[in-house]
């Protein structure tokens, strides 16, 4: 059984979190899900979903999988040194780290993406210019480098989560999950029409 925690903050993007949570959470014999925030209590997504969280100080397991979502809340958090210190400690103690959307920007701010391949939301890809020490991949649904998985914007988190399940438990387990939720899994991590859409807009 893997413990999984998602770090939540006000203004997280709803589907960044609950797409992957749907997929990992269905495998209830494999993944045990938690939701943490710095102080615990109710945290609201950008789409105003109120979720009950545990405080980081109550986190008492090791070798966990850490999920870091993006969302409008990240704009403030990249300047919040207290949050970033907590996030860095959480990430240093994690067995695997999965970021969705601009969650990779938060992880980049901790310094732990240095020298790693990673991706992020294609609409705000220019944000990556602030982190030249990361090997950013523009065209990718998701990117894996060692124990760190990073995905493109919002819905890409579901494809990454299925890719993570495939790596951990085998392709057939991931494929079966995708069919059960009637989701057309983008199995190819390089599939990314959105990088082209946003490149051509500019």
């Amino acid at each position: 059984m893997h413990e999984v925690t998602t770090v939540l903050f006000d203004g997280f993007e709803t589907l960044d979190v609950f797409g992957p949570v749907e997929i990992l959470g269905r495998l209830e014999n494999e993944f045990n899900l938690h939701f943490h925030s710095i102080d615990g209590g109710i945290v609201k997504s950008s789409q105003r979903v109120p979720v009950l969280t545990e405080s980081l100080s109550s986190l008492d397991f090791t070798d966990y999988i850490l999920m870091i979502p993006g969302g409008m809340g990240t704009r403030k958090l990249v300047k919040d040194e207290v949050f970033l210190d907590h996030l860095k400690q959480l990430a240093l103690n994690a067995q695997y780290i999965l970021t969705i959307c601009t969650g990779s920007i938060l992880l980049a701010r901790t310094g732990l993406l240095k020298g790693r391949k990673a991706t992020t939301n294609k609409r705000v890809f220019e944000w990556t210019n602030n982190f030249p020490e990361v090997n950013w991949v523009r065209e990718a649904r998701w990117v894996q480098d060692g124990n760190i998985y990073t995905s493109s914007g919002v819905s890409a988190g579901m494809d990454m989560a299925l890719g993570f399940v495939a790596d951990q438990l085998g392709y057939d387990v991931a494929k079966k999950q995708s069919i059960e939720i009637e989701y057309e899994w983008k199995e190819d991590s390089t599939w990314d029409p959105f990088s082209k859409i946003y490149s051509s807009v500019k």
Copy 2:
């Protein structure tokens, strides 16, 4: 501004709710989201997401959009006359009703799908045999009949929500939302490879 409420219950399917919530919730000038349960308080999804809800008795708006998810919790609720009475009242007062996955089975139990076209999760499609008064459509991503939209399993709710947005606000608004969340919208409501997969399994 449309008021939107999702009726939550223990054992709702996470993505049934938060896929459509992501899409409607991003259009914050158009849709104002609420989460209700019979008694209010924390309700947990099948994937153990704790969400804070308001009690139905505190619902004080009219002409709302009602969302009804599915999930394992529906197995118990189809026999819960108190819940079904509440759901029927909620549905009778709604301007539009959107169901996801086996949420349509709950709506069928209220009698309000009589004579209407509808669909549901393809994996448990045989459940529809209990409701011969409904015109069930096996092969469909989602179905619209008057003010009632019903979707196939879990992830199909996102495509239906985008279809609903297209009907209300125009195709371009829906398409723009799908691109912003990097989601490949299944725009054709008859797209449904899953109905064939599950038909061939039996």
